[in-house]
Amino acid sequence: MNDNTAAPPDKKPVRRRKLELDPRLAAYTGVWVFVEHERGLVHPVSRELLGEGRKLADILGVELAGVVLAAPGDVARGFCDEAISYGADLCYLVEDPVLAEYRNQPYTAGMTGLVNAYQPEILLLGATTLGRDLAGSVATTLRTGLTADCTELNIDLENRSLAATRPTFGGSLLCTIVTRNYRPQMATVRPRVMAMPEPDTTRTGRIVEHSLGLVESDIATKLLEFIPDDRRDKANLPFADIIVAGGRGLKRPENFQMIWDLAKVLGAEVGATRPVVQAGWVSADRQVGQSGKTVRPNLYIAVGISGAIQHRVGMEASDVIVAVNEDPNAPIFDFATYGIVGNAIQIVPALTNAFRQHLTTARLAG
């Protein structure tokens, strides 16, 4: 009972056997993707999920639907059209003024209302603050299974069930979880683990409208204000092509300037490990790893970073990893592409210089 997780790793794996799907469950059909938006912008994870959802729907031979919950207006319709261009066959739309800003209660009501009316077999949401908030309430209201924070989705063809894989124990283990006797099968998926599909604006699809039936006075929670993050100095790590990240091996906050200098020459974003964030050398939105951001740049330069599992899970999807560490036995060398064993304080300025020179020459050469 110490394992309340969706993934108790010492639980015995279930034996596979061929199952005739209970007709009660078979009534649920289709794959749905919740289209998350805040402040008029669709979250990129929703597009990634539409791409992934398309694959699952094709394997199952069913339709893929987007789900848009929003205030009435053109913007909401635009979200539906966008979902269709990213692969949906249709889009469910609940328009209501109480859905203008995300609040748990009306969004839960909207989503559970749709599920009960149209019965999808799979419902996917992004593992964002909004998606995790909503998914927990929806799954509990519907009394169905939810696999949180997945990194891989597949269909078990034997019984048409969703096999959702997620890390546990901070990424030390992966486990695949199925929801056998309940529908819909729900999962939240981490941003930036599924590939971003190409939109096709020539695609067409239907929009199915559904009403919510709530009024503002039914809702206890009121939004008093929204304080947008200061966009100037904000990290956008998940979408960076190049990241230079520093760890505790830099020893002092002043030395972290080297990371910024190298990043500047490369036009890169700056990332960091948790101890560096906790020491206040950089802001929390630059933390990469299990309790920070998942990134997948083309190039990740890890400086003075040991490569602990909690950091590794956030960056190992990077194409090329360069590690600079003075300890030849540091775990980061077990999975980096290239390693330089040496003192970061000397190596990093040399790298910055070398890149600067190379890039000047390349630019002159046109």
Binding site: G267, N298, F333
Partner: protein, 281 residues
């Protein structure tokens, strides 16, 4: 005000190792700690108690050893501690866990009304972040997740104002009590417990509830039986590649090492090379 704080005892995941052959967690010798995210929740509850008075009950579902987690919470200043423990709870997923915890809270509020429930952002062994929303939904409490600051509480009009982290900004929300709050890490710093606090906590009586004492009649909703999700496979992450290719230079000088690395990057990864040039111009 009466606040319930849900805390879980977890193995210290920083010290966990996976058995290379059997792919099972080697718990032996790994210390059990209070889920670190739950301490932020407890501290926030303690601060509210400092401001507005009242009582704090800590609640933990787990094996009998989880008593240690509750004693820790008592040493920081919680007033009452309840350990929910029964073999029948074993193997619970998030739906079954939230059922049992919600039932216990419903039982707690028979004795004293509950104004606030706190939970951590997530656990470090499961990282699901779903138990908090599950409890709130079952008990019909207003749900506020990822709270980065707890503001004014108006116990008379039963309102509370909090800041909640959203994508791209912070929502300032006002809601009605009773509500359930899950807090972000770093919103406060845990206070210290003195030796005297620890001695007091060690002697403090603990309430232990099994399934029946918590008022749970339907055993199909708890433990393995009450869990819709089933683990079908557990495996170790595929190693990314073999070991890194170490960059060497005869001189061993930083400049030469840097040049060797660049030569590798630009010749072995021409696309990346072009991208670097494009971006920086």
């Amino acid at each position: 005000m009466h606040t319930v704080v849900c805390i879980k005892q977890v193995p210290d995941s920083a010290q966990i190792r996976v058995h290379p052959v059997t792919n099972t967690i080697m718990r032996q010798g790994v210390p059990a700690i209070v889920n670190p995210y739950d301490l932020y929740a407890l501290e926030e509850a303690l601060r509210l108690k400092d401001r507005y008075g009242g009582r704090i009950t800590v609640l933990c579902m787990g094996p009998p050893q989880a008593e240690a987690a509750l004693r820790k919470a008592l040493s920081f200043g919680a007033d009452d501690a309840i350990l929910l423990t029964d073999r029948a709870f074993a193997g619970a997923d998030t739906l079954a866990t939230s059922y049992a915890l919600a039932a216990a809270i419903a039982r707690i509020r028979e004795d004293m009304p509950v104004d606030l429930v706190f939970a951590g952002k997530q656990t470090i062994d499961g990282d699901t972040a779903q138990v908090g929303p599950g409890i709130a939904t079952r008990l019909g409490l207003q749900l506020l997740t990822y709270v980065s600051a707890v503001g004014e509480v108006d116990p008379e009009n039963r309102r509370i104002i909090v800041q909640r982290r959203a994508e791209g900004g912070v929502q300032v929300l006002e809601t009605a009590l009773p509500c359930l709050i899950t807090v972000l890490e770093g919103l406060n710093e845990m206070r210290f417990a003195t030796m005297a606090d620890m001695f007091r906590a060690a002697r403090h009586p603990l309430t232990v509830w099994d399934r029946e004492a918590a008022g749970i009649e339907d055993i199909t909703k708890i433990g393995l039986k009450g869990s819709p999700t089933v683990v079908s496979k557990v495996f170790a992450p595929r190693p990314r590649t073999t070991r890194a290719e170490l960059i060497e230079a005869q001189s061993g000088q930083p400049n030469d090492l840097a040049d060797t690395l660049l030569a590798k990057l630009f010749t072995k990864h021409p696309q990346l090379g072009r991208q670097i040039v494009r971006r920086s111009s």
